[in-house]
Symmetry: none
Subunit: 218 residues, 4 copies
DNA sequence: GATGAATGAGTATTCATTCAT
DNA sequence: GATGAATGAATACTCATTCAT
């Protein structure tokens, strides 16, 4: 671990590696501090607890990512170009951060299997399939990560909604269409197959957008 | 818990409920045996350990599910009908078993974030992004669940491959197209939104297949 | 540690020694299980947590003690005899259990220095001298121990109240008179001096009651 | 926190508040320095450690208190007046400093439940109920606080001893009589009931002295 | 002199699994 | 076969104290 970096930086770097390697639950604070070569108190002084450390890590990455998505989308002339730019960035980022983002999807949102985040009138709310009430902390946590993913998804959804309004796309359920697309791509990266790995991000993006716009039917 | 059922049945029933409620890691064997009203030793006698119990449970459900998928696909006349029948069954099953299948996707496959299952020449292999080698048990486990999902996915992939061969579909990468579709649907159910919940399985399936075949572009 | 006793008994015996030696906070579960020669899980299976173990221990002792107090008080003919009997039992018990009862007075009731238990219309309530609200668990805990001591104190107070009503005692504030007496004796045992230690319980009780009834003035 | 005061003064002021609020163990040095608005090193530079800070604080208060007790006792003409003056001051002080003095009684003296301070031939000595020897520091600490309380108690004891010698009081064990009285009052303030709180210090003192001299018997 | 970043020993608690009855 | 009492490794988090700047 590079001792030229600040302790905070070292912790973040180590945390990224260890979280990516083991997932959230199985990652131990002890392993992070050993890799970062800092004391345990240092980690807790900077980040409060394990979950906050994880959130800090992904939230920072997400901010940059969303900026890239925004920029990519702005530079395209046509809708198709915008979509390709969006997915090029998305695939690039999701490939690089697959392990970390999988944690968000699965452990932070899916890990509490009985719970789901619903957006009711624009307000994200946690609902439970069972009688047991989740703690406020659990709810806040789920909403935090839901919002994080939403900030990525919303950009694609906006593109598709405006495309439908402008008549560039067939009318339909923008939410459903965006979801299938977005999550389809996410999952294809999480469960990697040869195609996804060996094809460059922009080619992959072009193929996906081509299929999305024109379908696979003759 | 119905005491007319065999102890084995009672354990499986209880396990399904408890796994669905808490996820794999947070589900405790104590809660299962309390609900099943059997001794702890009995559970271990029948199922060996917690993971094997989970596998037995989902593998049984999967077998039935794959049979339904096979049957559905056979009954369709046209490719489109077959696809709609496939997704109708899939959406129905995934909605009913969302919590359990989320565990497969996330905890069993994604939980060891540093590891991935690759199919090399038809042989599934676990590869690690890091230097540390996973234990044989971990590898076996991942492959088991990978194959389970593969058995569902392969049916869709077969449909699309044959469609391409027969010229009913545009030529292209059947693997990629199938994956985006399959996983897109799976994730849309795991991360539920109003549309997905309030629409019946067959309507949803029709919309999805329509988009898949003809795209959303004008 | 006598291995003929049940594990539960061994834990209770060990806990009594270790709590008495170190007080509640500084006593560690590790030391208890080492002395009891049981696994850590065993202690937690039986008693839930450290505080519940302590409460179980003192509550059991208190029940027996209160029975002894009740019996002692019943057997006396005159009020003075009853009072002497009460204090004989009290001094005997408090001497034998000084360390443990000190914990109740100090750590369980006084340890949360900003909090006090008040009895409002017969209902014990926790009030705070500061703006910060105690947790429900803290409150419940304090009330539990308050009630425990109250069950001892109430017997003396009853004696004095009835004495005042019957005209055997001067009229006055029964609460204040009982408190000074009761707590005065308790503290004299906690902060031991030669007199208290070297004098037998009944002689001490007689002296105390004599002073209480007739005062030290000429 | 008034920045016109010296850092030392600010620390003492903050410490008093925080110790009173949380007790000794649960009070954190971090909370004190935040309230005092000084660096952590400063606190340690001035006071050595947490316990010494606490001691400094209460010892300063005690010195003033003992002076007040001395003065009060000197101004009375009769023994009864002296006693009333003593308890008026004592109740006033103990009410105002209940939280802090509770710490002395419980955490500093009672916290090491297995240990007691005995005065052998005028020399305070720490004895242990168990085989394990306390550290020198622990012993010194206990003796320090024992002497602090003794400096208050000794005044009452002196009054009663001289009263007995002069024949103003019945002969008896001055130690025992003083202890019951002194600690009875202390505890009545620590475990507050309505009477104690709503009655003014001097009225309370009069009642207590009246009972002490003339008893509650008819 | 003053600071506060850094530390790590210390502790309560959980839960999958075993094995004697 | 069935049981469940017993286990102990594993882990997040706290906080008094130090010491380089």
């Amino acid at each position: 671990m590079d001792t030229l970096l600040s302790k905070e930086q070292r912790i973040i770097g180590a945390a990224e590696q260890v979280f990516a390697k083991h997932g959230f639950e199985k990652c131990t604070v002890d392993e992070i501090i050993a890799l970062a070569d800092v004391g345990k108190g240092t980690l807790y002084k900077y980040f409060g607890n394990k979950e906050q450390l994880f959130y800090y890590l992904v939230q920072k990455k997400n901010t940059l990512f969303v900026e890239r998505l925004d920029a990519a989308v702005k530079h395209g002339l046509t809708l198709e170009q915008k979509l390709v730019a969006f997915f090029t960035e998305m695939i690039d980022f999701y490939k690089a951060n697959a392990a970390l983002w999988q944690i968000i999807y699965f452990e932070m949102l899916g890990g509490n299997a009985g719970l789901m985040v619903h957006t009711v009138n624009g307000v994200p709310t946690v609902i439970s399939r069972y009688e047991t009430k989740p703690s406020e902390e659990t709810k806040d946590m789920m909403i935090r990560y839901h919002l994080l993913l939403e900030s990525e998804f919303i950009i694609l959804k906006g593109l598709i909604e405006s495309g439908m309004e402008k008549g560039e796309l067939k009318p339909g359920d923008a939410e459903l269409d965006s979801m299938s697309l977005f999550f389809g791509v996410a999952m294809s990266i999480f469960h990697p197959h040869k195609v996804v790995e060996e094809t460059s991000c922009d080619i992959l993006a072009q193929q996906i957008v081509d299929r999305a716009l024109r379908g696979i039917g003759k």
